[in-house]
Symmetry: C2
Subunit: 220 residues, 2 copies
């Protein structure tokens, strides 16, 4: 279970101080995630992260070297978290249509639940993915979703409920796009349309439509 978004540091003062390097480390990363997501890499302040983490600057530089190192670690951790959640997906026992529906719902709600992840990815794209490219940790980054989609497509085609010749990577991109874009651009879209797209009602409308688009397309 990931820590809450408000990133309150673990209560260490109540129990008296103890040496918990991993807890300190995690507190810093949680605080950094919030700060980086809210202000981007250049906008984020190390002092602010230190204050919010309940730790201090010295520890940040001890553990992560510098601001860039901290950024990379936060980014890697975000990807890991996503992969973990995706790994828990099991649509083997669902019908292709059910499975696809479930998958899209998962992806959509993941984006809804993790606005920091979206902000992080956008910032990383602004930097042309330079950190991600140089990350040793992130080599086998192929998302588990892709495997699941491939399986669903095959079964669906065999059963005659899905059309043939659908490229899984393209479909994955489409599904990712339909969830990601809405939340990534939610503020400018809300302004343009004059609606509050953050509301659960609007989100449901959007998800339903997205599912209809993909399932509609997949009809033979």
């Amino acid at each position: 279970m990931p820590k809450s978004k408000t990133a309150k540091p673990d209560a260490r003062k109540t129990t008296g101080r103890t040496r918990q390097p991993d807890v300190t480390r995690r507190n810093i990363l949680d605080a950094a995630l919030v700060e980086f997501a809210a202000k981007g890499l250049s906008g984020a302040r190390v002092d602010e992260i230190a204050a919010r983490s309940g730790s201090n600057k010295r520890m940040i530089y001890e553990y992560f070297g510098n601001k860039d190192g901290l950024w990379l670690t936060v980014l890697e951790r975000a990807y890991e978290r996503m992969r973990e959640e995706e790994h828990a997906i099991d649509v083997a026992r669902m019908s292709p249509v059910e499975g696809m529906r479930y998958l899209m719902e998962f992806n959509f709600k993941f984006c809804s639940r993790n606005p920091e992840f979206i902000a992080l990815l956008n910032a990383e794209n602004l930097h042309k993915a330079s950190f991600l490219k140089n990350s040793k940790k992130i080599r086998e980054l192929y998302t588990p979703l892709l495997v699941v989609i491939t399986d669903l497509l095959q079964r669906g085609q065999r059963d005659g409920v899905f059309r043939k010749n659908v490229d899984p990577v393209e479909l994955y991109t489409t599904i990712a796009a339909l969830g990601f874009f809405y939340f990534s651009n939610i503020h400018t879209l809300s302004t343009i349309f004059g609606r509050n797209l953050l509301s659960p009602k609007q989100q449901k409308t959007r998800l339903d439509h997205s599912i209809a688009v993909v399932l509609g397309y997949l009809r033979p």
Copy 2:
């Protein structure tokens, strides 16, 4: 015709100096677009914009007040440009299917042609659209595309080539998402997939798939 992306200032030195406030203004805005798109609001440097524009800081503060004022003007200008291009779209004489295809191609290629626009929007969303919300100029921001989509949908439904009960705003969002997301996340996606998604070939594959998705969905 918009100025080139490299934002070379107009040749004023060759013709000797003359007073051309509007040219200076435009040169500054062109330079600012490049700088803001490359580094975001907080990452951008006013000194750099001044140098690149062929003008100087004093003029920037004379015309735009401060960095935020410059940002807002750049943002407004980018939207205006998009609206202008969209206004030129005329699908009245095309069949609904042809028209829809053309529309998606336009949207996709617009994103491809204007990476700064995408970077700008992402940065503005990071700031929760706070500048856009306070812009007096951008009130009637409803994109012309929306009108065109509504028309195409009606004609297509009447002719029996499109399904019924499609919400134009939802479809617009979907079309926007399919173009925008690809280019917005092109660097992280390229890294994850190990492909260069900037290549024309990959772009064509992506556009074809996107069109197939929307047209496939729209089948009755």
